[in-house]
Symmetry: C2
Subunit: 136 residues, 2 copies
């Protein structure tokens, strides 16, 4: 599976923030409950999003998280790449695993690279605003 719960939760939360629209900060607890996601688990995801500058975070009462940009300025690809640490369909083409000794003669490699590009383009072509439109 190419996208785990981590990435899917991140997307859901981003859509959830977009749905609420406003400038106000929403505490983690509220989002976790609304979305039915483990609060502690979501914490680590929010920290990732926050460090990358995808969301703004404020401590203390009245604090929480909020979006940094407009929903149409977040691509699904950027969020998944961040939370999943990449989007490659096979380990052959992931950067860490540059160790495939057969890379030079592998006759499947061009296929994997083409697939990766296709998936990447697909996700880069969808924004949080697009996902929001799907909701009823």
């Amino acid at each position: 599976m190419i996208v785990s719960t981590k990435g899917r939760y991140a997307l859901r939360v981003m859509v959830s923030f977009a749905q609420r629209g406003g400038e106000e900060y929403i505490p983690l607890k509220e989002i976790a409950e609304a979305e039915g996601i483990s609060q502690k688990y979501l914490e680590s995801i929010m920290t990732t999003l926050s460090k990358a500058g995808f969301v703004d975070a404020v401590h203390g009462k009245g604090g929480g998280y909020r979006l940094n940009r407009k929903p149409e300025e977040y691509t699904v690809g950027s969020i998944l790449k961040l939370t999943e640490g990449g989007l490659t369909a096979v380990s052959c083409t992931s950067q860490g695993a540059s160790a495939c000794s057969r890379a030079e003669c592998c006759n499947a490699l061009p296929m994997w690279e083409k697939l990766d590009k296709m998936i990447n383009d697909f996700f880069e072509g969808i924004t949080i605003a697009d996902l929001l439109k799907e909701s009823k």
Copy 2:
């Protein structure tokens, strides 16, 4: 990751058989050594391919495996679906996990379905004969 070593090995082995062309049966041991794959591990993969009728198997001396059809009659998709047990990018859309309580209101679901279709079409459009052409 969407495709594990199991599926990748299966593809390599099928290409390897196609490369040798002939009608003769090739023992597992020979293929495993030529491809540098664990013999025992490859065994389980070959059994899967054999049961599905992708390859012919013959016991005893002079036996082994060989392709059942022409290389251009095997799509990459059919091999991966068999060995990987499906090709879905997220668990949401896999058949076993029909349990997502949010399926009805999930605003990401159409995206996952579209992605699955795209990946499926991609792999169904490539055959073992195509992969063979890539080799130098």
